[in-house]
Amino acid sequence: MDFARSLWLVAPETLLSVAGLILLLVAAWAGDKASRAISIAAVAVLTACAFLVAPALWAGAMGPDTEAFGGQYRADAFAAFGKLLIYAGAGVTLIVAPAFFDRFKAMRAELPLLVMFASLGMGMMVSAGDLLTLYIGLELNSLSAYVMASFLRTDERSAEAGLKYFVLGSLASGILLFGVSLIYGFTGGTSFAGIHDALSGQMATGALFGVIFVLAGLAFKISAAPFHMWTPDVYEGAPTPVTTFFATAPKVAALGLLMRVSLEAFGQQTFAWQQVVIFASLLSIVIGALGAIGQNNIKRLMAYSSINNVGFILIGLAVATQQGASAMLVYLAIYVAMSVAGFVVILLLRDENGDQVEAISDLAGLSKTRPWLALSLASVMFSLAGIPPLFGFWGKFVVFKAAVQADFIALAAIGIAASVIGAFYYLKVVKVMYFDEAIDKVRGKGELSHTMLLVLAVLANSPLAYLGTKCLGALADNAAAALFYAY
């Protein structure tokens, strides 16, 4: 594999880094008044990157042709699928952020840059073919994310969120690194292909510990129970556009990474980690569902909802089949659409002074005062609960279908029965909006950009989206096939 070819394969990352550095200089010279222009430029760069990675997904790229730098980096269909979702999440964040931060006079030029560098890190995460690439990508993303969580410096909650995220995130990174070092020690390599070959047959206890530590570290990043504690606080404290970002892009990246590590590197030791994933999955579903019941802050509710949804996604991983991986990707794509719709609605909930309304009780009777907004939020809630005909159902459909096909019937039955608990709190939001007397607290106006994003995201959640299931399924199958390519 020649060097030029490797460089061509990493073109999206190169473009993001170079553009990021140039925009950093622009930010340094032009100051915060250029932040809007930089945001627009960043969105343009992300769009360009998306066009760069898309062909790999459509063509179903896989195998040695997609390896760069001796297998440390992979530009296959799986990476492309992940990156498209990541760029979408990052782009949405940049579109909604200026309006939010302008109110606090806190829109700074660094935000779009941080989003770009985080996207770069996440792109590396889903493309990783080596534990070192993995770690560099992960840290690049995490460090940007810590800063973003505390971006609203005037708000104590934001600072608290950043600190908590940093402390717990570093702990998780430490656990992950420890696992990586154990794996390196017991397998003698850091490349996924090498680990895959070395871990055949009976596994050493030390290697098993390594696997568990790596999974624990990654479980933290995807906020799966029992490593979920940071999620509600960070989601609530972080500025809402940043929460939108956390709920979409890093989730995709960390789950993509988890899939790469579990199915590629540890692919021969499925039995070693399957129970762990099953445990984490069911626990996440139950904790996500029960924890949400008492919440009155809609961002905290979304945080528990994300824990709950990660549990369903992990069911796809637990079955450890290609269908399972494909189902996870479909679910992730739908989850990104649902989260975007949910958070854009949350951003549009403003009182007459333009302040954000976050208490669920303040949404009472929203259906009378703002019927279309209420209808959008209700559709997101039913979609998150997985009630057909909304598109959220399709995510659960493919995941549970994969589980049943792999003969994990008990897991599927328990998981889906637990989803009914989750339905309770989604219903609560609908109940407050539709059944309670109107208090007319939400009166603020929204920007055109928000409305357009909302319409797009709600349409992506609507029954109309079923018409796209064939296309989405084919792309996810391409991506999953790349993941299962036998090296």
Binding site: S367, K368, P371, F382, I387, P388, P389, F393, F397, V398, F400, K401, V404, Q405, I409, A412, A413, I416, A417, S419, V420, A423, F424, L427, V430, K431, Y434, F435, Y466, L467, T469, K470, L472, G473, A474
Partner: protein, 511 residues
């Protein structure tokens, strides 16, 4: 006519009207809804008129591979045809029942009803397993909103109960469907109906489907959501709930549980019988002591549905035909009874039986209709109730005399609580001045009552019109069930045909 996608059109009309209801001014929403339901009614009648009785089993089929994992596949047999006809017939009545009584958020109300209509027709017309599931489950959302927004005092509790109960029942069915689709390699319902699943797997599959259909039906002891939902729902909501939604459970049994898992159905028939017998007796007794009219009728619905389930699991033609007629008849009669309650509720705003009395004096015409539907509910010969219950009980008698005996008490108890209700409401002295001052039926109410009354009598006097389209499908189902048919306890032996037997039998009978 066969090439025309009439079923898709019937699904599309209410859906488009639902969107229209949300955007037109609120005063016009009800007109839009009424027109749309009338168009669907006309389409439904065209469907019936063009249905080829005795022709192909599945007619008006449409298929389009639009989705991954399942397809847009519609088609109906006689059973589905009758239930679709019931749906499109009741929908304009529901809109009429809501005409003046719904005074808040009309647009959303009618939109929810129209979406419901689409989904109900979709349930009966779906020929793909997962398309069926989507239609079946999606009905939860509009019904949740109808109960919760426009219901009475305890509406929120009732709406939650309705939603979570039915959701829990249904999700397990989804897992079973995945297993079936995986094992049989198809999601096509007609193919699955002829597929022989392994007997040990049937047990689990049957239980998963049972969990869903028993809640929807509803069977004792998972019926408790029904009285709450009914009492709190507005009149139109109650009519559609009793009239069509409850039929989804019965339809599920007849379309899925029986033909797909015949051995398991035979195995679990005693369970069904036990629950149904308990339901008939217990809920009838509960109905007897109700002071709320809607609750009384709701409990009577549970009892009637129990007659449906015993008939279905009787494994013979009479039982199956009877169950279908009970379902159709109950749809009309319970709907009409809720309408009767709605008529006086609109005037006095209470459902307490004690607040009324002597209505036959000031509302004679209303009382006549109320009496007719009461009698139909009891099962008086000449009304639709009689035909269905009689056939069902004959069916079950062939399997178990005891079950037949216990279930027949339901008719006696039914007569007791219905006549007691009627006496307290329509007869006696006019103890409340405001109830005594209520005016008789107006034109709108006449327009709703008359068609219902006509069809109830029609079904009672000439049930052949309704049985004919279903006959071939029920015979096919009976043939499918023959392999698993349990042995009856009646032990009826057909004597060898003796040419001279007539005289002897007549002679013996005289002794």
């Amino acid at each position: 006519m066969m090439g025309f996608p009439i079923l898709s059109l019937m699904l599309l009309v209410p859906l488009v009207a639902a969107v229209a209801c949300l955007v037109v001014p609120r005063e016009q929403a009800r007109s839009v809804a009424l027109i749309a339901t009338f168009i669907d009614f006309v389409l439904g009648m065209i469907l019936w008129a063009n249905y080829d009785i005795g022709g192909a089993q599945w007619q008006f089929t449409e298929s389009a591979a639009l989705f991954a994992g399942f397809s847009w596949k519609l088609g109906i047999d006689g059973i589905a045809l009758m239930l679709i006809a019931l749906t499109v017939f009741l929908m304009p009545v529901c809109i009429g029942a809501s005409w003046t009584s719904i005074d808040k958020r009309q647009g959303e109300y009618y939109a929810a009803f129209l979406v419901m209509e689409t989904l109900m027709i979709g349930v009966f017309a779906a020929q793909d397993l997962f398309l069926f599931y989507i239609m079946f489950e999606a009905g939860l959302i509009p019904m949740y909103l109808i109960i919760g927004v426009w219901g009475g005092a305890d509406r929120i509790y009732a709406s939650y109960k309705f939603f979570l109960y039915t959701l829990l029942g249904s999700v397990l069915m989804l897992i079973a469907m995945f297993w079936m689709a995986n094992a049989a390699g198809t999601t096509d319902i007609p193919t699955l109906m002829a597929y022989n699943f392994p007997v040990h797997a049937q047990t689990w599959l049957w239980l998963a489907f049972f969990a869903s259909f028993a809640v929807k039906m509803p069977m004792w002891p998972v019926h408790t959501w029904l009285p709450d939902a009914h009492v709190q729902a507005p009149t139109g909501g109650s009519v559609i709930l009793a009239g069509v939604l409850l039929k989804m459970g019965g339809y599920g049994f007849i379309r899925f549980s029986l033909p797909m898992f015949p051995e398991a159905s035979a195995q679990f028939a005693p369970l069904i019988f036990g629950l149904s017998m308990a339901a008939v007796v217990i809920t009838s007794l509960i109905a007897l002591v109700q002071t709320d009219m809607k609750k009384l009728i709701a409990y009577s619905s549970v009892a009637h549905m129990a007659i449906v389930t015993v008939g279905l699991f009787a494994f013979n033609v009479q039982g199956l035909e009877g169950s279908m007629i009970v379902m159709l008849s109950h749809g009309l009669v319970a709907g009409a009874l809720f309408l009767c309650v709605g008529v006086i509720y609109d005037r006095l705003h209470t459902r307490e039986i004690d607040r009324y009395g002597g209505l036959s004096i000031n509302m004679p015409r209303y009382s006549v209709f109320f009496l007719l539907f009461t009698m139909a509910s009891i099962g008086l010969p000449g009304t639709s109730g009689f035909v269905g219950e009689f056939l069902s009980l004959i069916g079950i008698y062939q399997i178990s005399s005891w079950v037949a005996l216990v279930c027949t008490t339901g008719i006696i108890l039914g007569a007791a609580y219905m006549l007691y209700l009627y006496r307290r409401v329509a007869y006696g002295v006019q103890k409340n001045a405001d109830a005594a001052a209520m005016p008789d039926l107006d034109k709108r109410e006449w327009a709703m009552m008359v068609p219902l009354a006509v069809v109830v009598l029609w079904m009672g006097v000439y049930p052949e019109s309704f049985l004919a389209p279903m006959r071939k499908d029920i015979a096919a189902l009976d043939a499918r069930l023959a392999q698993a048919k349990p042995k009856g306890d009646a032990d009826v032996k057909m004597g060898a045909a003796k040419p001279a037997a007539h005289e002897n039998m007549a002679h013996g009978g005289a002794h």
